[in-house]
Symmetry: none
Subunit: 197 residues, 4 copies
DNA sequence: CATGAATGAGGCTTCATTCAT
DNA sequence: GATGAATGAAGCCTCATTCAT
């Protein structure tokens, strides 16, 4: 009964995503997931060992995608020579997120959960990882010019940027519009940033 | 009389703040708060009627401060005539947060909880209120120049800005440094923003 | 499926009735009900949403029966013309309770709980409703003849009568005997009552 | 500080009576009693060892009065010779309650609590004792004439009568009116009762 | 494979009572 | 004598998970 199993699994996943988005990992209820998946409580455990496993099964692939993208970007960063231009940093960041968005296309929900609703799970650090990478990029570009300035602002800006991404994911479902908004956000926050730090 | 009360109350408040910061209002456990305050569960209820009352007692004053500041700013906005400059918008926003910070000085934790960890409580809308006000300011300044552009970006930017504020609150305890960081954040995100939208 | 449910539900109901009878709704303990039903506390909530729902599930049907009967009697009252005889009042009252008893046959326990142990529940007014109806009947018959007398005695008598009913329910399980006792009680308290007020 | 102690004790007693009347022994709260007595929680235990002792201290004297009266009546019963008349039974009962009422004059509240709100305390059987005595009187008078009839009705009538007394106590505060109502109740329920059994 | 009943720990809260001051 | 803080058990309820069928 492979086909049935598959159906049920799909239902569970759909219901789980909705629940995780609505309440976050920690406050989500297996009971409610089961109910909305039209299956019986205990049965959910035939498909996923427990709440954590269910969450990980949904988030894992998306997380891996993100991690992969980030790693690739990391390599690019390490290969880039000489003093950077603002433009390079901005483009790097923008392209990272365009890439992420494209790679997880159709799984924006998971991405959002990963970034904003994963408290209590093994993925709760994801947002921080992304922020760190942006901070790193900004630091490479701006540190040499900051002199006495408080470098911590780079972490702040990186966080703000990622939050902007989260808002875009949360409130806007259309892929093209998302891309445009990411572009705008990048421009507003990062274009010629060295002049404003 | 009251031979210990004050101490215990302090302990409860300290433990509660730590718990609220860590888990948010909803996921906080009275049991754990009591344990960390070194008192027995039931005893907490001598000091605060219930979880909600405890939360409100801590958050209320800070919320009122914020609300007051925002109202004042709202009046300023309504009195400002003619077409705005970028500078005006930025200054308004920056000063709002400098003001808030100053007024809640020493209670940055509460402010952070209010903004980021108040889900499920009566204060869960606070962050949104702040964001909306910034969005409103940005709209007044930028809407006339956005033509075909997607206005939603203003909401995104406002959210990102407030997140930046949260990060500053979360990671930095020194008042002067906070103020400087708010200044930097404002400059980076809002200075001459009309040229970048 | 449901391989045990019915049994357990029966056990809960039995234990609950016993507990309600013994302590009344308000002082009844879910813990004790569960213990006497030989199940674990939490499990009771699979069968009934909460204490109130459990109580209402047991009492609802019986209450509805009573309410229905009373309504019917109320209509009869309104249709009866001219000055009443003692006999009419007595018969009306007697028949009301014979009817009630017959309709809730086999659920005398619930009826008794409803009348005497429902404090704190939505049914706590039941006894008063019954008393009021009897008082009303007595008033229709006797008020014209009471002149200067204290009408409050009618309420006292009505209350005493309903208490008699309760005792019959409490102490006597046999249907026929109950009916006979209701007859006797009616005769003793109401037969030619106009001569004794 | 005898005078102070006395005052405080009075306050406790007043508050306790109000609480017991309102909620009954079992559901009464020491906290609320203390609060309404304007003293501090723990302090109540200097005056009364515990809730039970407090209740007993208030009820004891009244209970003893009742018990005394009943005993006296019991003696009268035992001395009455020959076959009784209805009138004798009725008068005995009526006078019992007039006597009780007179003896506890000014403590009708306690009497009511004893009869109706003492569940869970050592006095919860008081009502039953009174009922039994009335039942006994009725039995002496009526048993010889009941032949095949169900004697249990005598218990029912006795219970109804006592309930009537309770209602009078509960709803009517005036001594003379109470006495009149007891008279009426006796007449209605007991006058020439042998003709109606 | 599926069912849904059972479990046990934990959630918040109230209470009578005791105890240190 | 008085204070009011502390205690621990019990109240109702929910939840993730397990298990017998």
């Amino acid at each position: 009964m492979q086909y049935l199993k598959h159906d049920v699994k799909e239902n569970i996943i759909k219901a789980a995503l909705a629940e995780f988005i609505e309440k976050g990992y920690q406050d989500s209820s297996m009971r409610i997931i089961a109910r909305n998946a039209n299956i019986v409580m205990g049965n959910i455990y035939r498909y996923f060992d427990n709440k954590e496993a269910l969450f990980n099964a949904l988030m894992g692939p998306v997380y891996d995608q993100i991690a992969g993208t980030c790693e690739k970007v990391q390599h690019e960063i390490e290969e880039l020579q000489g003093p950077w231009e603002d433009e390079q940093a901005m483009t790097l960041i923008k392209q990272t997120y365009e890439q992420i968005l494209k790679n997880v296309s159709g799984r924006g929900m998971e991405l959002l959960i990963l970034l904003d609703k994963s408290g209590g799970s093994r993925y709760e650090g994801t947002k921080k990882e992304l922020i760190e990478q942006i901070r790193n990029i900004l630091e490479i570009r701006l540190l040499p010019e900051m002199h006495e300035k408080d470098v911590f602002i780079l972490y702040v800006v990186a966080s703000a940027f990622v939050e902007g991404i989260c808002v875009i994911l949360r409130e806007c479902g259309d892929h093209d519009r998302r891309e445009a908004l990411i572009g705008s956000l990048s421009t507003i926050m990062l274009c010629q940033i060295s002049k404003r730090v």
